[in-house]
């Protein structure tokens, strides 16, 4: 139950000019699961290590419940990090690995044994205590690493790319496990990932970091519906941008006038929308309807991706395969961009 706050946190590694992390400020509420999302090398693991106390920030402050923790050693901070490659100690059994944190705290051996047993049940590996880490599968190792961190009931749990080394079905299982344990123990949890999907499925809130700077800190939904700029929208998979300027519910662009929601701010920018929200229309007379030529058709099984050209603007649309039936490259179709799916980025 700890409120973590990062204040103007920067890190410049010795011998480099570019900051690995530039002036990051972030409030992470008690008991929430927050994702630090960004491409590799954007400073997210650096941030994580600074919170854990394994790296010293060049400037800025980190506070837990309002108290600066910069002077506290990693072993005293109450923030436990689970690394991407699990780092189970190879010379110890699974049980010894899980009990490591309690042993360092000089807990009574019988008590350790009892707690390790509980943790093994909790991560659903009840009979594997005597195995060596090398005898476990990747998913099992991940769960042992999680149990080893949770057994000491940390104030803050830090997860480095928790799902990225797992295959598809294990990811879902692990995601559910992390979420349920986190909810149950109400541990303020921060995880870093380069995979927006991983962030979306796991996090309460996402902080998107691009080039060492925080772009947007919001709920997963907001990143799809209201991205702050083109780079953010692109990171979340949107390729659709129509440049122009907005005023009083009308957007002027090379495609003509487009009606937009009233609450969109006046000014220059780009309209963006999710490819899956584009509608194919038979009748071209409705508002916000445009003629498009089909440049490419990519069949993806449960959906079909269309590359469309609206005079000089190229957009992506994702439609139901039934709707795309009978279409071929070069066809002219009518598409509609309803006002409510549109959002303006700067």
């Amino acid at each position: 139950m700890t409120h973590v706050s990062l204040k103007n946190l920067s890190k410049i590694y010795p011998g480099t000019q570019m900051p690995a992390l530039d002036n990051l400020s972030l409030e992470i509420p008690t008991g929430e699961l927050t994702a630090l999302l960004g491409p590799s090398g954007c400073g997210k693991t650096t941030t994580m290590k600074m919170i854990a106390g394994l790296l010293e920030p060049s400037s800025g402050d980190i506070t837990f419940d309002g108290k600066s923790v910069l002077d506290e050693k990693p072993e005293d901070r109450g923030a436990v990090m689970v690394f991407q490659n699990y780092l189970l100690f190879p010379y110890m059994s699974v049980a010894e690995n899980i009990g490591f944190g309690l042993k360092m705290r000089k807990t009574d051996p019988n008590q350790i044994k009892k707690r390790v047993g509980e943790m093994l049940d909790m991560v659903k590996l009840p009979d594997l205590g005597n195995r060596k880490p090398s005898e476990l599968s990747g998913g099992q190792q991940q769960r042992v690493a999680l149990a080893r961190a949770l057994i000491i009931q940390p104030d803050v749990l830090l997860l480095d790319e928790p799902l990225s080394n797992l295959d598809a079905h294990l990811r879902l299982e692990m995601r559910d496990l992390i979420r349920s344990l986190q909810q149950e123990m109400k541990i303020t949890t921060i995880f870093v990932t380069h995979d927006q999907e991983e962030a979306v499925v796991l996090a309460d809130k996402i902080a998107l970091i691009l080039d060492g700077k925080m772009k947007q800190y919001d709920t997963p939904q907001a990143f799809y519906d209201a991205p702050i700029d083109e780079a953010t929208a692109r990171f979340f998979g949107s390729q659709n941008f129509i440049h122009g300027s907005a005023k009083d519910g009308i957007f002027e662009s090379s495609l003509g006038k487009i009606s937009i929601p009233k609450n969109i701010k006046t000014g220059q920018g780009a309209l963006t929308f999710r490819p899956e929200n584009v509608q194919i229309q038979q009748d071209g007379s409705k508002d916000n309807t445009f003629t498009a030529s089909v440049d490419n058709i990519i069949y993806l099984g449960t959906q079909t991706r269309l590359k469309l050209k609206l005079s000089d603007v190229e957009i992506d649309a994702i439609v139901n395969p039934r709707e795309a039936q009978g279409l071929s490259i070069g066809d002219q179709i009518n598409i509609r961009l309803p006002a409510e799916i549109l959002w303006k980025v700067n």
């Binding site: 854990a52 072993e75 490591f100």
Partner: protein, 274 residues
Amino acid sequence: MSTRKNTPLQSLRVLSGIVLITWLVLPPIPLAIWSFAKGWYFPDILPKRWTLNAWEYTFSNTAGVIDSLWITIWISLAATFLSILIGVPAGRALGMYKFKGKEFIELLILAPVIVPGIAVVLGIHSVFLFMGLTNTVTGVILVHLIPTLPYMTLVMSGIFANYDAAFEDQARSLGASPFKTFWYVTLPAIMPGIIVGGLFAFLVSWSQYILTLLIGGGRVITLPLLLFNFATSGRNDITGAIGMIYILPGIVILLLTAKHLSGRSGAVGGFGQI
């Protein structure tokens, strides 16, 4: 399964086997026989008469062999201990970090293996003389570090090149102090290197002759010095007996470390640089 054929490679293997046995296994045999012989003259294949005289003399108080054995063990153990103390951090720096002048430092560490000991020790002798370290056991221990440290450092740099320091971060994060982190996480991981490097350092120190002679100035009589005295005075029987004692640690250590010395072990990876 492939059948074994008498290829050229196969014969080369047999030949090298013979050479190894002739050079390494056969030489101690006459030494062993001499130690029990009462005269052994050409053209006899074995001595005509046997005796335990040489062994009795060797273990007697007048011979000084036992004193010499203890001092040799003490010097070698101390040199090994100091080598580990210095070689582990040095190997960590060389194996894990990139820094300016690293190649030069690696060359410096290798230098004692390349440059003849006698050339180095003549310079050191005058320094030690000034510091009052000549003719002392301490001086001999210190001078033994010159040949032992390169082995220790190279073995440890090989170990640390394959070592992931993130384990230490993980231990700290789980609540281990720096000392406990070293004890529970680092030490088990580098133990094979410490064992192999330490045994090498011990053997290298054990077999020093010139360095001990020059720095010890005849006051510090280690086993090889004593052995040489008897060998040059023509007492083949006593030479044989002391020689037997002298080669014992080497054989024991070889047997103990055999499994660590295969090419696949990280502990000997550093030797590639020699």
